[in-house]
């Protein structure tokens, strides 16, 4: 997993609420057995017509936002299925940070496993960031994970909360499984005790 420290980039505004994982990556692209290459199908049915032509009105098709690295989105982003293909597609497109008033639980977890930072902020702050994102490619937003701040192109700064353990993993690009395997003796002990207490499991 790539480290996440600071990111300065173009933010694309997607004010729609309840953007679900079927929108982010429709099911026909879940048939892959790889993690890579999904960026070209990110938001496929919103981004392209059935015969594969770009839909000009869609934000990521607009010249200003083709290289967006941040999404500012409506409430409850990433609801629906557990498909990790959603963060894989975002990452493959180049999105490293999503900002919203809330995220669906599984999507939120999946982001951290892939070096994407999901940021939760109150409505009025997301509204301010949405306005900033609407300014286009010349307005760069800055996300500083160490300092836990998002700063708009005109210098307005908002602090955000992030779980300390997840922050540590993201800053250092750490592999969860490696970390857990350091605790293998605790797992062994738990298994022995549980096998006594609940032998039917």
């Amino acid at each position: 997993m790539d480290k996440f420290n600071t990111l300065t980039g173009i933010a694309a505004p997607m004010p729609l609420v309840n953007i679900d994982t079927d929108m982010i990556i429709p099911k026909q692209f879940l048939k892959t057995i790889k993690r890579s290459g999904l960026g070209k199908n990110l938001f496929d049915e919103m981004r392209f017509t059935q015969d594969g032509k770009e839909i000009p009105g869609f934000v990521l098709n607009q010249p200003a936002y083709r290289n967006a690295e941040i999404l500012v989105a409506g409430d409850n982003f990433g609801c629906g299925s557990s498909r990790e293909h959603a963060p894989w597609a975002l990452l493959d497109f180049g999105i490293r940070c999503v900002i919203s008033t809330s995220f669906a639980d599984i999507f939120y977890n999946n982001c951290f496993k892939n070096g994407i930072l999901p940021i939760v902020l109150p409505q009025e702050q997301v509204d301010a960031l949405m306005e900033d994102a609407r300014k286009g490619a010349n307005a760069r937003m800055t996300v500083d994970l160490e300092a836990q701040t998002v700063t708009t192109s005109d210098g307005q700064s908002f602090p955000f909360e992030v779980d300390p353990f997840r922050k540590h993993c993201l800053l250092n690009g750490l592999d969860d499984i490696g970390l857990t395997l350091e605790k293998v003796s605790a797992i062994d002990t738990f298994e022995k005790t549980a096998a006594q207490a609940r032998p039917w499991v």
Binding site: D22, M23, E45, I106, P199
Partner: protein, 471 residues
């Protein structure tokens, strides 16, 4: 000792390690695996030389991609789908996990197979790379969906890195009226709380109307906890639970059964335990409902009319307008005037035997409306066999419906069972998202009885009218 909720108790019994910041390592008792969200996880194990820590607690079954047509033994036509199912065949064999291949009569939707085979037991932690893992909460098991990185983590360590969620109580008091089902409960709850209403919580469903439900009804309720945003939904186990579990192939037997039962009986929320959020609905107030829009929170009683975007507030105004456009609906029209093209009865929400019985009760001696395409897809090979034995299959066939083999099918349309653009479907599944059942497809969610009623009339229908008709 302070009083605990059911969630607290199951959580506490599975904590392996707690860090200073509250991040826990949680032991996983059952790991269910299907073909779509697992190939990258098994590949990750291979690349790092890791093994599956507890193959005896890992159960795999292909369901999302499998064809449900009667000729499926000839194989999967779509190359990518075929590769994915073949990858699961190989991974299950290479890593030695329990496996129900497509050819096995026990094959079916993972969330139907788990309980059916007795893998799901009260007080367990159950995970699967699928959001509808919440289904297993009906047994008083802590069950939730995970992403593929977490699938790999569980395969390698039999644990998950988790922070505890908050406790939420959803109480359904009193009794349901005739024609109202578990599906109407779960949709009505989401309609009341919204799709983010449960975010950050584990829900415990309780109250007389929940206790009155069968195990299958409880699975329907918990299945859609995720649609309300909750990490998991739980129902305290009781005699019905124990009765359902007893004698299943992987349920404990003999002295172990007695020991298990002793513990299971302690699995209930203590008097005075704290809930961070409480929602109460009266059972008598719940009507047969349908969804009109493209979010599971877009729920209305079937007697209602299509709303206007202005009826909503904030960001939902734009979303509602988008839904109306996508669904091709005009504000003010009666829901019962909405004509349908297709009926889908099945899925992990409503693909069990009682669901098929409920649909068959409406369809018996009737025929589906002209021009309607209707398919019934049992949740497992065993559900299919039982429906045939009970004569339900013949009722569906006589009514002009397609009687299929088990799989996820048109719930998410990864196999050839899909809607065409503009095609409108009465579905017993769990998501009405844009494109969910096929690009441009329009989905109305409802109970099996309501879907059966719609199949007969060709438009959304209040099943209670048809029940009066039957009397």
């Amino acid at each position: 000792m302070s009083p605990k909720t059911l969630y607290d108790k199951i959580w506490d019994a599975h904590v392996v390690d707690t860090q200073d910041d509250g991040t826990c390592l949680l032991y996983i008792d059952r790991h269910l695996v299907h073909e779509v969200t697992s190939p990258q996880a098994f590949e990750g194990l291979r690349m790092t030389g890791r093994t599956v820590r507890a193959p005896e607690k890992t159960i795999a079954v292909p369901d999302h991609n499998v064809p449900t047509t009667l000729d499926r033994e000839k194989g999967i036509e779509n190359e990518e789908s075929r590769i994915q199912v073949e990858a699961l065949d190989k991974n299950a064999k290479d890593f030695g996990v329990h496996y129900y291949p497509v050819s096995d009569v026990r094959q079916g939707i993972v969330h139907i197979v788990g309980p059916e085979q007795g893998w799901t037991l009260p007080g367990m932690t159950v995970v699967c790379g699928d959001s509808h893992t919440a289904t297993h909460g009906a047994f008083g098991a802590l069950a939730h969906g995970i992403g593929t990185s977490e699938v790999e983590h569980v395969l390698a360590t039999q644990t998950l890195i988790q922070k505890k969620s908050k406790n939420m109580k959803v109480e359904i008091t009193g009794h349901l009226r005739p024609g109202v089902t578990a599906k109407d409960i779960t949709l009505s709850v989401i309609g009341a709380t919204g799709t983010a209403g449960g975010t950050g919580y584990v829900i415990e469903y309780c109250g007389q109307a929940i206790r009155d439900l069968s195990m299958e009804g409880r699975m329907t309720v918990c299945n859609m906890a995720i649609e309300g945003g909750a990490r998991a939904g739980l129902i305290a186990p009781d005699e019905k639970t124990f009765e359902y579990v007893k004698g299943r192939p992987h349920a404990p037997k003999g002295a172990q059964w007695e020991a298990a039962l002793n513990w299971w009986k302690t699995l209930k929320t203590d008097e005075g335990a704290h809930f961070d959020k409480v929602v109460t609905l009266k059972g008598e107030d719940i009507a047969p409902v349908v969804t009109w829009g493209t979010s599971p929170e877009d729920v209305l009683p079937i007697t209602g009319t299509v709303p206007a975007a202005e009826d909503f507030k904030g960001g939902k105004v734009e979303a509602a307008q988008r839904s109306l456009d996508y669904m091709g609906l005009t504000p003010g029209m009666k829901l019962t005037d909405i004509k349908i093209d297709t009926v889908f009865i099945g899925s992990c929400t409503n693909g069990r035997i009682e669901d098929l019985r409920a649909a068959a009760a409406i369809l018996k001696g009737k025929h589906i409306a002209p021009g309607i395409r209707a398919m019934v897809v049992p949740g497992s090979g065993l559900v299919r066999a039982q429906a045939e034995e009970e004569g339900l299959a013949q009722i569906f066939i006589d009514a002009g419906m397609e009687w299929r083999l088990a799989g996820c099918s048109m719930c998410l349309a990864m196999n050839p069972d899909q809607l065409s653009p503009g095609e409108r479907c009465a579905a017993t599944s769990n998501r009405n998202f844009e494109g969910r059942q096929g690009r441009g497809g329009r989905t109305h969610l409802m109970s099996p009885a309501m879907a059966a009623a719609a199949a007969v009339t060709g438009h959304l229908t209040d099943v209670r009218d048809m029940m009066a008709d039957a009397v």
